[in-house]
Amino acid sequence: MTLLTGAYFYPAGRSESLPVSIQLHADAQFSIIDNEQNLIATTTIKDVVVNDKLGSIPREIVLPDIGLLMIDANPAVNTWLTQSATQSKIAKLESNTTLILASSILVPAVLYLFFKFGIPSAAITFAEYVPQNMVEIASRHTLVALDKSVLDASELPVETQDKYQDHWAHISQQLNLESSDFNIQFRQSKTMGANAFALPNGTIVITDELVELLEHNTDLLTAILLHEIGHVTHKHSMRLIAETMATSLAIDYFFGDLGALIEAFAGLSNTIVQNQFSQKLEWEADNFALSKIPALGLEPDSFALAMEKLAATMPEESKLQHLIQSHPLMRERIENARKAL
């Protein structure tokens, strides 16, 4: 007969506590005995709930309607409790040295692959399945919101606008694109300055400021337009939404519920990961534009020149900056464009 000492018994429903010993009998029976040798209860291991082993925390044994037994997790106690039917295998895994070492390598490796390849390819699938009418609504609402905030009506003369529209209708024909897939609009924007952006339904907005900056050079404007068309045909907006959402969820899932500074770290990683996605999409759009320029008969260095003019309006960039911005470094984009010549 074995005696396990150093346990505490907590009777059900009251905060009393009692130092006790556990006496083990044959047939999985056991008795709880207090320090004055009074018998508190006798039961079998089959009639109690034994909480899973976890590290070296004390073992908890629930006696339904009677109370709770807590005892330090020494080897004798652990051996006794292996008879319980309610034990899972997880504690074994958690103390398996090989698995711990393997996990230390596999966890970062799998997370890296997940962020690098898993999320982007899932995002491409997601982008394919977004219903067209949702894309339409999203784009319209966004344009309305922008028109009410940072965009004003274009001050370019109507003839100038028409001239560009005709030219670009011709370009989209040459690219075998439906002209209804794209809707080019001019706007003025002091806030955005020289800029162009695409909405997922094919609306492409070009600011008066950009037209001014590129000195009404049709080839340069077309090069920028091709970049935006690249965003639209590759469904970049939807991919970015999916990627942003999946990354935020994943990072919250793994790093959530922590202190403020640690959350700042998680937020920072989130920003960096998302910027990597968004920069990748910019490269795709750049390369789309570069691949189309020769066939369309534009000046070969149109895209590089346009980028150079834009870069001249921006403050100089440092190497670390690519971590904190959504677009690749202008310097590298220009290099890439020059290399394509």
């Binding site: 009393e16 709770l68 959402m245 670390l320």
Partner: protein, 361 residues
């Protein structure tokens, strides 16, 4: 059932000394042991595409609760993984809904944000109630009895109203929030009593504010002067260098002033709250301890690329335990569980459909 109770032992069990005594809070968790639990559970979570995270959370909480002892008795964490999973699925759905709304329509996003904002008090109450109900000490559960109406007042209406006082009333609002949280905690049939002082909240909040402003001014003038002395307008890395120094200074200022507030208020709450005749509490967390803890935690996390997380959690729990004392009062053994009709806190089915902690963590 093959069980028998010896009825000869009917007299109340008196093992507790009758005089009040001050005891330490001890934390027994070990970094190595917890690292193993953490990394294996993380792998299982990834392999199961996140589903296992609910089970992992339960194991983590059990590890920290059961390693915390007051007066030789350990805490118990009693949540069921499925309850956690349910809350987490709702949390993910709400966040996804918000993301999609933001992505697809600014109008829809505004509506979703407003609804979520108005629902915040409900989530906070549900979460507090859940966390308290699944915590037990000496086989007696805690609970949270705060009502939604009151929660709406302290978490939504008062903060909005404080804007109109140019935030001068904000410390008072923060006191009301803490009062709501702590005075609604129960342990068995005993209710927590608080005597929070508005003056202390004003001291802590304005102290934190002035520390922040003063340090920020020092940082701006100090660094500004040294920067202009060395500035080389040709060099782009200079720009990044000064940006980084400024960001670090900014983070440090926030850290110092928020630690001033957090340490003072934690001490104040612990030193004034009590469970009548059961226990009173003491906390002497110094600002320097908290700042040092947070700075070293952050550096360790970044430099180890996240691998130091188990070490951080263990040492943080240890520091908070070390600065906390409990005065055990004679009534400690006389608390009656709220669910005394049923067997024991552990394994007891008190969950209903609204018992969950909506969130991702």
């Amino acid at each position: 059932m093959d069980q028998e109770i010896d009825n000869s032992n009917k007299a109340p069990i008196h093992t507790e000394p009758q005089t009040p005594r001050k005891v330490a809070v001890n934390f027994h968790g070990k970094t190595g042991e917890y690292f193993a639990i953490w990394i294996v559970n993380l792998l299982l979570t990834i392999v199961t595409l996140g589903i296992y995270s609910a089970w992992a959370t339960v194991r983590t909480h059990r590890y920290f609760y059961a390693n915390t002892d007051i007066d030789g008795h350990r805490f118990s964490y009693l949540a069921q993984p499925l309850q956690i999973l349910k809350g987490r699925i709702i949390g993910v759905l709400l966040l996804a809904l918000y993301f999609l709304a933001v992505a697809f329509s600014p109008l829809a996003a505004a509506i979703v944000a407003l609804v979520l904002f108005l629902a915040t008090p409900i989530f906070i109450c549900m979460s507090l109630r859940f966390r308290m109900k699944v915590s037990a000490y000496r086989n007696i559960r805690f609970n949270f009895t705060g009502q939604y109406g009151r929660a709406f007042l302290v978490f939504v209406l008062l903060p909005i109203m404080s804007i109109f006082t140019l935030y001068l009333a904000l410390p008072w609002v923060l006191k009301k929030i803490d009062d709501f949280i702590y005075s609604n905690i129960t342990y068995g049939d005993k209710k927590m009593q608080t005597e929070l002082a508005t003056g202390e909240y004003y001291l802590a909040a304005f102290g934190a504010f002035f520390i922040g402003v003063a340090l920020l001014l020092v940082a701006i003038f100090g660094f500004g002067a040294s920067m202009s002395a060395f500035a080389d307008p040709e060099s782009a890395s200079q720009f990044t260098g000064s940006t980084i120094i400024f960001m670090v200074a900014y983070v440090l200022v926030i850290l110092l002033s928020s630690s001033f507030y957090a340490a003072r208020i934690r001490n104040h709450i612990f030193n004034t709250m009590r469970l009548s005749d059961v226990a009173s509490f003491e906390s002497n967390l110094s600002i320097s301890t908290l700042v040092w803890l947070r700075v070293t935690n952050f550096l360790a996390l970044v430099l180890s690329l996240g691998f130091a997380l188990p070490w951080i959690k263990i040492r943080t729990a240890r520091v908070y335990a070390q600065v906390t004392q409990v005065n055990i009062l004679p009534g400690i053994a006389g608390v009656i569980g709220q669910y005394s009709q049923s067997s024991s806190a552990i394994g007891e089915e008190v969950a209903n459909i609204f018992d969950m902690d909506v969130g991702l963590g």
